[in-house]
Symmetry: C2
Subunit: 653 residues, 2 copies
């Protein structure tokens, strides 16, 4: 029975996702700095797991001798990190209510830059999932090379798991996040420390990896260095996370968030430089074909294949999965923000039974999984798509801040203005602060252009095409919603409320118990009604006509519509057009029976014409279509013909 | 606009499939023997393109020295062919109205054997498509080895092409079939003749193929010989085709069909033995890893890489595609026969706009394509699944004939009885004829068992499991239709025809022009009605309530249903259950508005709750759901807000 099925589905949903949550249950809790660092840092910190490696893979094209260049490149990236940190610190103070790129750009630059920032961020959140999970799986396959052929399956399994957890809804209890983040930081620092001690003592070995990298060597050109730099810039993804989540911090919010940002950037810089240094000292093997990750090679060199090696890789894998998980909070939230402003489908604003934005989570999981399949869970192949989006949003957010400082500069000392998303107060140091943001905007803009050019052929072109396309689509959606709202609210189009004539047409496929139910409904409405049968099969039409005479008789006349092309809806459409012409002010009301089976498989064995009719008639104005279900209850109350002991011949209709 | 879209779709369908055909246009034409041979022989004759090769591939496991065994094996298969031909000749005379295995088994053995024969044949028709197309592509890749990596794509493309042609509907004008069939027969005979002349002259060379086959050699055991024999039996697939299509022949039907059968078998035997002989003489290279087909090697040896070589391969490819094409006639026709008897979904009996059984064609194309993908268009990997089905249907059809002869034997001389599918006349030679059919049944049964055991691990297990499963499903479907028909026709369940009370509930999402249309429809029906809004978002509910007061006012009261879990259907379901309890004999009529957009993409941007409600409420008895569409016509008559010059703020509802 259908209700029984519903009950079963309900239980399955309950088991997987937990009981539904009340709207009033939406969580409102704040976190301290320590927990805040753990919650927001996993995305940024986890990128050290692949950033150094990606620099080396590019340099490998110029031969192992070029690996030494990874150190100045890393230094340049850390410099960029420092500028970004100072710049974002100012954003955090300016937007204590949350200063994501979308909000800052919308507030200061206008709709188009805001939608661009949003499109870039949404793209990047998806890539964070694909890249982090791929890199996490690469750590696993480094420790256990035997599972390498199953890396795509493992990656998809992990995404499914993260998706399930997020559909249940994470009550962002920071402590759960704190443990793996600090665990990773601890182990990464321990590894770097132990490596440096061994280096000082002269006991640091070389990478035990024996894979042979063969390349047709390219000359070491500036372009190659720029490509290596671009790859390394993926280390900076996630730096913006804290500026999105300021409201989660305890008061004084901005101060706590700013301090957390500085702590995070400090840690990120130390880990990144440390890993790059050690990678150079142990002469890691790197290249597109090398299957062991740099982290794994360093840990094996420092620790040997001891439990500590495995624990280090496990911690790295877990923080990468946590990084993917942060996108599951950010993507649906930003998607809902866009949708709320009418730039994405409204469905993204719906909160599911567990209060999460289910549609956003599904979209994220599907696209990220698709990328994993297309790029075979190879981090290096995904990197060229990554980071452009983040750097574009960096640029827009800081350009927004530059505009904001100019407005502040025009205010009178002591003045304060309530702006859209924040309070603007005069600041005597506005010129200096504007300069910092301008430097940040300029630098990230240059990096973005470098990245796009250097990686264009490797895949960056996809993002270069995708982001403007998304912005275009966002605006198309926006205009659509605006137009619909305009039409629906146009006073001139509102019809007057009054009773109009109605003519009911009952579509009869056959004459049986369900048909009588249909007739009763038609009769009960109290408006004129008529019955119609479409003669797809002329022989059957003859039988139906005869049965109608016997069973329904003078109650109503059954009109037969011919259908020379064996089509159900075309003759009905034509017939109704005729009726509409007879009733210029009235409604034509089509009613159609629907045999309700106990399950989808049995339902698929029947014609299910109601849906087709609904679709086919919806272009006609003043036509309403009613489905009158007739429940067979086949499997209850011993309704089967066999149980009734009916001979088979008696059951042919 | 929706009608415009429909018109566009219509044109596309017209372009691809041609204009719709009238039911009365169903073709009724008969063919002579020459054309009959061409129409029905392509399936059987084309199998010589792979049968010899498949024997050799198995023998290759025992080394090239074992290849000589292919000659006695082929002789044994031709002996089987002779018995089958005599046996089927009798079927053709017994069933001038068409004597397919399904009909003969149903007539003489009962429902279960008939369904088994049908399941076996349906399975085999699918495999005919996969095997023939794969073998056809193998001929192409033999001539042009460069396209080998794209063999799956080519095979899928060919299936798509055949599908398209068949959806257009082939007006089986036999002449189109005659050309390629006779072309192939001519070229194959020419190749064999030229080869034999060269052999006699001592100028026949050796296969120019230089691929090296490496095998860990197996001892030449009886089991291996049986496997080779089983592989070769695929040459016999298609022999039954004429017995299915007797009605297509000119009068005297049976005589013409029988003569065509003998001609076909003769040709098949000659081609098969000839190819096997030549393959041995030129020392073809055969093995699972060999990419060049045996036909290609023979043609290259006899002709060199001349145009004649390419023409021979082309003719072979085309006849293989024609063989696949015959399944496109047989599978949908047999599927419709099953469906008409209630053993498969009724949809298979629907004739599409071009009078073809579209659902059957789609099913065949999908499953055959799936097999091509799974088995990578490798004929050798598909062979173990093939032929079991055909031999099972051979056995059942001839066992049916044995039973029929026993019945005839019990009749009085000169007596004639009108049986289900044929006329039974006393025949003094019934004992001898029964013996022939019994021999045929026994031999094909033994071959089937040999095939199933010898190829079990290679893939035959799939068919061994599949056929009984299909038979089980067929009967489940049959019982379902029987039970539904029984319930619908049970007099006791027929309600009396009389007017009952109706209460209409209008579901209101928002108050706009579409809502007024909904209200007007509710009001026009003349039964009591009420309006309801589900408060998924409590703030919005407040706004809707206020707008209702302003715009609709005292016309009707708007009831607000709370929905703490943000669910639309659950509160409605509960509310309606309450109304049903108040109206124990009446109907609850739910009406819901539906904003009709101009295309599917725009439609997807809206809530489309009507479908969800229809599904969610269909378990409730005495509840009908009406959709009242409201067409926005966004893109016509300058309805866009921009064109109206409305400011954006004015369009927010």
């Amino acid at each position: 029975m259908a209700t029984a099925t519903a009950a079963r589905n309900f239980s399955l949903a309950r088991l997987l996702f937990g009981p539904p949550l009340l709207t009033a249950d939406a969580p409102h809790q704040t976190i301290n700095k320590k927990v805040g660092l753990a919650v927001f840092a996993s995305d940024a910190l986890s990128s050290v797991a692949y950033a150094t490696q990606e620099i080396l893979i590019v340099l490998a094209f110029a031969g192992v001798a070029a690996f030494g260049l990874s150190i100045p490149i890393s230094m340049a990236i850390v410099t960029l990190l420092i500028v970004l940190t100072i710049s974002y610190r100012q954003t955090i103070y300016a937007y204590p209510g949350g200063g994501g790129a979308y909000i800052v750009a919308r507030d200061n630059l206008g709709e188009a830059p805001a939608q661009t920032a949003g499109a870039a961020l949404l793209t990047d959140y998806i890539l964070t999932v694909s890249v982090s999970v791929s890199s996490g799986v690469a750590q696993i396959t480094s420790a256990f090379p035997g599972v390498y052929p199953y890396r795509v399956e493992i990656a998809l399994g992990l995404i499914a798991l993260i998706t399930l957890v997020n559909l249940r809804g994470v009550k962002e209890s920071g402590r759960v996040f704190a443990i793996p983040t600090y665990f990773f930081v601890l182990l990464a620092l321990l590894m770097i420390g132990a490596g440096l001690v061994q280096l000082a003592a002269g006991t640091l070995g070389a990478s035990p990896n024996t894979e042979v990298v063969e390349h047709t060597l390219e000359p070491l050109a500036l372009f190659l260095v720029l490509r290596a730099f671009a790859s390394g810039c993926t280390a900076l993804t996630g730096v913006e996370a804290i500026s999105n989540g300021i409201t989660a911090f305890r008061e004084p919010r901005s101060k706590n968030a700013a301090r957390t940002l500085i702590a995070m950037s400090g840690l990120l810089g130390v880990l990144f430089i440390g890993i790059t240094l050690l990678a150079n000292q142990i002469h890691v093997v790197a290249g597109e074909s090398v299957k062991e990750t740099v982290i794994s090679q360093i840990a094996r060199t420092v620790y040997g294949t001891t439990p500590l090696y495995y624990i280090t890789l496990m911690a790295t894998t877990i923080i990468l999965i946590m990084a993917a998980n942060t996108s599951y909070a950010d993507f649906p939230r930003l998607g809902a923000l866009h949708a709320g402003d009418g730039f994405l489908p409204k469905q993204l604003t719906w909160r599911g039974r567990r209060l999460v934005f289910s549609w956003g989570i599904f979209t994220l999981a599907s696209v990220a999984s698709m990328l994993i399949i297309v790029f075979q869970a190879e981090t290096t192949r995904l990197i060229p798509l990554y980071a452009i989006g983040v750097f574009l949003s960096f640029t827009l957010s800081q350009a927004g801040m530059v505009v904001r400082w100019r407005k502040i500069g025009r205010m009178k000392p002591g003045e304060a203005v309530q702006a859209h998303g924040s309070v603007m107060r005069y600041d005597p140091h506005w010129r200096g602060k504007q300069l910092v943001n301008a430097a940040g905007a300029l630098m990230t803009f240059v990096v973005m252009i470098v990245f796009a050019i250097a990686k264009f052929r490797d895949g960056a072109w996809i993002v270069v095409v995708l982001v403007p396309t998304l912005v275009f689509v966002f605006f198309r959606i926006h205009y659509h919603y605006r137009d619909v709202a305009a039409i629906l609210s146009q006073g001139a189009r509102w019809p007057s409320i009054r009773r109009r004539p109605v003519k009911t047409v009952a579509l009869v496929d056959d004459v049986h118990a369900g048909t009588i139910n249909l007739i009763n409904f038609a009769k009960s409405l109290g408006v004129p009604w008529t019955a119609v049968h479409v003669a797809i099969d002329p022989d059957k039409a003859e039988r139906v006509k005869q049965k109608w005479q016997e069973r329904v008789g003078e109650e109503a006349y059954l009109k037969i519509l011919t259908s020379p092309y064996r089509n159900l809806v075309d003759p009905v459409h034509k017939y109704i057009e005729g009726l509409l012409a007879e009733l210029p002010q009235g409604y034509v009301h089509v009613i159609v029976g629907h045999l309700v089976m106990d399950n989808l498989v049995e339902q698929a064995l029947h014609q299910n014409a109601a849906i087709a009719l609904n679709l086919a008639l919806q272009d006609l104005k003043r036509v309403a279509v009613t489905t009158v279900p007739y429940q067979l209850d086949l499997h209850i109350n011993g309704n089967s013909a066999r149980e009734h002991g009916l001979p088979e011949s008696a059951t042919r209709t």
